[in-house]
């Protein structure tokens, strides 16, 4: 029986030896003032961006080439020029800038969300309007 415990006792001695030399846990590090300021600034910036995106804004002043969806429906005569930014799309209560393109189908124009790079702007998932702006 004692022979059987030789291994356990050897292991116990080794574990005690290592346990006594283990470093004590370091106290948790507190964030510095700079870190806290950076985190606070990020939180405030994120809140500002979220507010800006969620709050509906009034439509801007009418320009010669621009028209709202309502205006387009009411006055079908003047179709917006190709490539001109219009405000026809309404997303989550906000008018979203859009551009007008020639559609693949003849006789229609496509209003696509405006994106930064005009040269690669594509009317993907856009509203399709007959030429003249009337649905």
């Amino acid at each position: 029986m004692n022979d059987e415990r030789d291994g356990i006792e050897m292991l116990r001695k080794a574990i005690d030896d290592v346990a006594e030399r283990l470093p004590a846990p370091s106290p948790g590090r507190r964030a510095s003032a700079v870190s806290r300021a950076v985190v606070a600034a990020c939180v405030i910036a994120a809140a500002a961006v979220a507010t800006y995106r969620l709050v509906p804004r009034p439509a801007g002043p009418a320009t010669p080439g621009a028209a709202t969806m309502a205006a387009a429906a009411a006055t079908p005569a003047a179709p917006p020029s190709l490539g001109v930014e219009v405000k026809l799309l309404r997303v989550r209560g906000r008018d979203v800038g859009a551009r007008v393109f020639v559609a693949a189908r003849a006789g229609t124009v496509v209003v696509a969300p405006a994106i930064e790079r005009k040269e690669v702007a594509r009317p993907v998932g856009a509203v399709v309007l007959p030429e003249g702006g009337v649905r």
Binding site: G7, I8, A19, R21, L22
Partner: protein, 197 residues
């Protein structure tokens, strides 16, 4: 370097401290964690947790126990069993994450990125650490868990069985096999050969 000082704390002391800490959450709780820590360190080492990870693992288990202390029910088992369960589960999670990390580091090495192994320099060349590695290397995972709780955690077979989800008879049987294998390993290759018919 700070050294872990072990105070002799009995099972009854721990249970009493746990109840007091659950009620007051003040200095009693601090004393509870100080008293429980040395035993958890030994269990973690006996489980085969790498020496460099032991302080963090124990601290993590103590923090989890601190958050869950109100849920500790002395009627359902001992305090050692309760906190031992937390430690064993975290050790298993750590072993899993180490396997994933090893695969990730191997992948980094194959593309030539340098990787640094985590270690405690003062313990790297310690003979005791090598002895632990050699002895635990001859045990299976379940044998290590039983040895850690039954022999080093000073739990009885029923308590260790509850923590590991096996029967008390299973714990005793696994412990017997583990002791035999450890004894063979401790005697070295000659002893091990003599044991075999």
């Amino acid at each position: 370097m700070d050294v872990v000082r072990e105070a002799v704390v009995t099972s009854q002391d721990l249970a009493r401290l746990a109840l007091a800490a659950r009620a007051s959450r003040g200095a009693e709780e601090e004393r509870l964690w100080q008293a429980a820590r040395p035993r958890l360190v030994r269990i973690a080492l006996a489980l085969g947790v790498p020496v460099a990870d032991v302080p963090d693992l124990v601290q993590d288990a103590l923090f989890a126990a601190h958050r869950a202390l109100r849920r500790f029910d002395p009627g359902a088992g001992s305090f050692e069993g309760w906190i031992g369960t937390i430690l064993v589960r975290r050790a298993r999670n750590l072993a899993r994450s180490r396997r994933r990390r090893r695969r990730f580091l191997d992948a980094l090495r194959t593309i030539g990125l340098p990787t640094a192994a985590r270690s405690v320099p003062a313990l790297d060349r310690l003979e005791a650490r090598l002895v632990i590695e050699r002895l635990l290397g001859c045990l299976s995972v379940s044998q290590r868990e039983v040895v850690a709780l039954y022999e080093f955690g000073e739990m009885d077979a029923a308590e260790a069985a509850r923590v590991l989800g096996i029967t008390a008879a299973g714990v005793r049987s696994i412990a017997r096999d583990a002791r035999r294998r450890l004894a063979e390993e401790a005697r070295g290759p000659a002893g091990a050969a003599k044991e075999k018919p």
